[in-house]
Amino acid sequence: MSTPTASFGREAASGIARSKNEPAWLVAWRENAGELASKLELPKPEKTPIQRWPLDVYGTDRPGAKVESASQLPEALAKLLPAEAGGALIVQHNSSVVFTHLSEDLKAKGVVLTSLEEAARSHEALLRQHLMTAYTPDEHKLAALHAALWNGGVFLYVPRGVEIEEPVQALLFADDAQATFVPHVLVIAEANSRVTVVENAATAIGEAAAGFVLNGAVEVFAKAGSQVRYAAVHSLETSAIDISYRRAILDQDARIEWIVGELQDGNILSDTRSILKGNGSTSDAKIITVGNGKQRMSLTTGAVHFGLSTESDMITRAVMKEEGTAVINGVTKIEKGATRANGQQTEKVLMLSPKARGDANPILLIDEDDVKAGHAASVGQVNAEQVHYLMSRGISKTQAERLIIYGFLDPVVSEIPLESVREQLQRILERKLG
């Protein structure tokens, strides 16, 4: 069942929140978001007419079946689980979280890992202080809809000074095309803590399904001196649209690393942005994608510098095949007063087909004099000189091109912090690159 967003508003949002028995504060919060959703316009990403995408669906609440152990998860989901049992794992299946595991050791250190729905009750103060303050409901219609509809979700809290060695894993999975699938990942890393999150989003709704939208968001709050590494691999099917907004707010000397594989087969609107608020904070974003079929994608990376001596680096690499279309934006914004800031960005598109399209738009917005900023953008084909060099050593043309294409993506692939996810990513790449 799907309902046009035109009719979605305060009442609809309120109805869903009440039916799920959400706490009063959240019901009121949802109502406001519903109100906004009925008033706001869609975002207008550069050169991507998303108003023509079938975004006016939001499904119905279809919670997955809760399980007691990871071994009881449905097969399609279990396949995505890492072989190595980690200390922290949370699984969202369709509209709800069905499994959470957190080792006793991490619990004892005060680490919290729960569904966001659960956290709305158990950690109300923290949630109200942070939820959708980096990605605010009033940004645009999709943000408001996300606020009104988010379900399941991940709440990760890392106390001051706690360093988590093993990656915290979040698996977001939908196999019911009717389900509302609006996961929100909220990470709060307290001062001087350190954590790596690996998020894996996938669907098995069938290629024939019509009108499925993942409207997801990630918010990371990295407090003073903390270090957060956030890796995400998205592999939704052709029939699914992926809307993913990712935001990090960095306090003094905090660091975020984004490592993102946008490997969906359907349309993508993704926006990954770091707000370098605190002095000395740093951000490093690496995004890869492979476009094929008739996929359309808008991928934006952004860094907004407020603090002194803040540094950002953004790299996006896209391989475009068949009739895929990608618009890749990099936005470096340096605010007045952010002296000695340094913002660098690179967008590179490798075109493998004459019908594919790739557009790289580096944008520098600088309001301060004493800064460094740089950008490089290129759209090109496989370098004939490189192919010749490899062939001159006996490597066939096909294999040479393959090495070069995989090599083009390697600077990101090799950074994926979890071996099982890296291997999964390799499998997806093999399939998409053919």
Binding site: Y389, R393, G394, K397, Q399
Partner: protein, 259 residues
Amino acid sequence: MSNLFEIKGLKSEIEGKEILKGFDLTIKAGEVHAIMGPNGTGKSTLASSIMGHPKYEVTEGQVFLNGEDVLEMGVDERALAGLFLAMQYPSEITGVTNADFLRSAINARRGEGNEISLIKFVRQMEGKMKELEMNPEFMHRYLNEGFSGGEKKRNEILQMMLLEPKLVILDEIDSGLDIDALKIVAAGVNAMRSEERSFLIITHYQRLLNYIKPDHVHVMMQGRIVRSGGPELAERLEAEGYEWIKEELGIVDETVGQA
């Protein structure tokens, strides 16, 4: 000794300009030949045309390796037939590690189902890198990316040592090398000399030939060989330069295809 390598009447052009104007050379198995000459006389065009660089178009002639015309082959087939060119400007390829690249090249020779085991490969590669005094880290670095000029040249020699070709062309392998690196590279080449393997060394300078003794030395001007001799020819060139040859042959401009 049999003719391992034969170039017959080779003509080649780049962007419509003819550079090689009927080049002939015969190399017997086990021989080392040096081609010397000033800049712009067609030396690198010769190397690139033999290897099949896409920018160069061979318009006439034949190049036989063990009786087979390599010009009829694709670039990869030429390499598999035993041709190796150590390039003057090797490509940098991001994301492809030196080890992955070399293993692919070795496996291309061995064929499917007969791939070299990882352990054996690593042992071989480490061994040869040690001989060339290369930092072991270079194994896992991206191919030639961020390598200095000298490191790239050593990496070319490393490839030669691991791929064990039949005919090796060294295109200006000595440029950009300091004397210590030059000695190491020369030692690598000398270690590869054998009755079955031949070398064609292209260089400006006699310096390299102090360390790799050639059997024959040829001088190239205007896209062809104008003078051939033994090692003493290289020594005379080093001492007296190229002017005397130009005078003897009545050549005013030795270059070819220069705009």
